[in-house]
Amino acid sequence: MLELEDVQHYLLTRPHATIAQYNFITFHTAEGGRQWVNALADIVGTAKTVMAASESDMRWVSLAFTFNGLRKLGVDEISLATFPEPFRQGMAARAQMLGDTGINNPDNWEDKITSEELHAVVILFARDGEERERCIKRHDEYLKDNPGVGVLSSLVLEAVPPLDYVHEHFGYRDRLTTPVIEGMGIEPTPGSHPPSKAGEFFLGYPDETGFIPDQPKPGILSKNGSFLAYRKMREHVGAFREFLKANGKTIEEQELVAAKLMGRWRKTGAPLVLCSDKDDRELGFDDKRNNNFDYEKMDPHGYACPVGSHIRRMNVRDKQVSRIMNRRLIIRRGGTYGPYLPEDVPDDGANRGIAVFAGCADLARQFEFLISVWANDPGFEELNEKDPFAGSIDGAFELTIPKRPIKRKVKGLNAFTTVTGGAYFFLPGIKALRYLASLK
């Protein structure tokens, strides 16, 4: 059973928040860094407190560290060497393998995210903008008294208007699926993946092999921790809307093309496998039905949901298929940044997109596999394409839509997403935070 009082809430529960801010932190001195961890450890939301929280609770904080950050805080070299190689190297060093090349390459990444001086991230959730302001002001004031710590960059994340459901800038409804962890008392919705072993996401517990994998040392530092892969993707909303117009004559056709890219209807999330020709709002918002489908029996050739669509690449729903899912799951957290671009307004060139953290126990096996193979490997299912959204597309975008008698290929002149940031973090448990603060 997960030690909920020692796990940071971040991967387990979503607070009642509409707004978040990421502050990317550098420690000028080790002592300053440790004081900062010590000062914030008290207000870090544990899974236990956040799950018990009411809507009147205002804000929650999470802390995570880069490899350089752990080293700067004073974790010794012997312990550091026990951390897995992807984390030690950092995401930018693994760009070639991940597929982050061309325009997506780390030289172009924003927010000083590839800096050797990036040591930590503090993730703040607040109930509203006012509360966010108050917290950030307090953090800034604290930093005035602690010159050993500085903010490298910040990113504000807000729910995008105007739609009445959670969505990103392209207008796709979000948060329709998330892994469920065994023993948490949550039943997966019909058709969803069976509960995962805690060890798939938290260190120190048995994973799907039935064993507890070897963990970084010392145990007090790794127990109840997780790895986070941060990913910032700019969304070129103008290019996306032009793409839809170029590939669909009517509004209905454009919506169908948008749905084919994702595998779900944009505004409701209703799955194409269950309603391939026309959106069904009631179905999309019915949790008992909106994940209750498979591909192998219901849509083996992808006539409803293309094999190369985002949800079909990222989430295998079949039992007999040639892809294994239970060791590839991630817990996705994050949201949208940048201003909403109203419909029928030309792209203003503003920076907007999504900034997400993928939580897992093994960066190589889970996050890196999803990006390098299922999203970016042109050999995936012999499609010679990349994932429409999670792929690092450099230049023309293509998607094959199976159709009788002959498949159709939709094309765009330009990619409508660009990877603009990425980093690996370690999200420690509460005791581990205290341990880091107490290092000499």
């Binding site: 092999t209 294994i324 012999e382």
Partner: protein, 187 residues
Amino acid sequence: MSNTLTNGWTKPAAVAIPKEGYFKKEEGRYGPIFPQTPANYGFTIIAKVKPGREDAIREYGKTIEEAVKGSPNVLAPLKLHYLRWVLFDVGSGLHFMYQGIFDTDFDKYLEDAIALFNSTGVTTVFTNLEGWPDDWKTNIGAVTKYFREHQRPSFLEYGEYPYVSSEEIKKALTLKTAFSEMLDQMQ
């Protein structure tokens, strides 16, 4: 598929491979990636057998035969063409060779391979080999390292129908069957 389209499957091809096993160093998740050749991707694992374990290894052949009979698609995630298991002794003790030809670089599906080898009993044969990590069940890193250290890259590979994937072959044969059936129906 791109390689089939670019290079054409109708023209047999051979490629000589540098000693390190690749032309240009390209990092995968677990080390350099061995390139696709006209004989597709593959590995050749060679390791010395622990003394007195020959019978155990030979018996294991039967285990795998049964496992595949029981669920024929069990190894599908690995995009395989062929696997070969060989025992040989050239005077320096008994050695074991495990050779596979498949359609994706081994790095990509390595964890699936290890998981499937564990669940089908393939891994148990490795416990009869020298240098196999004792903690293989919990230490995927050590298993990965073992596979990489015992991999012997080819210096030459040949394909009669270069770069063709097993998926393409299966589709072509399915199509052939469908056509014969259609012709039957036309009689």
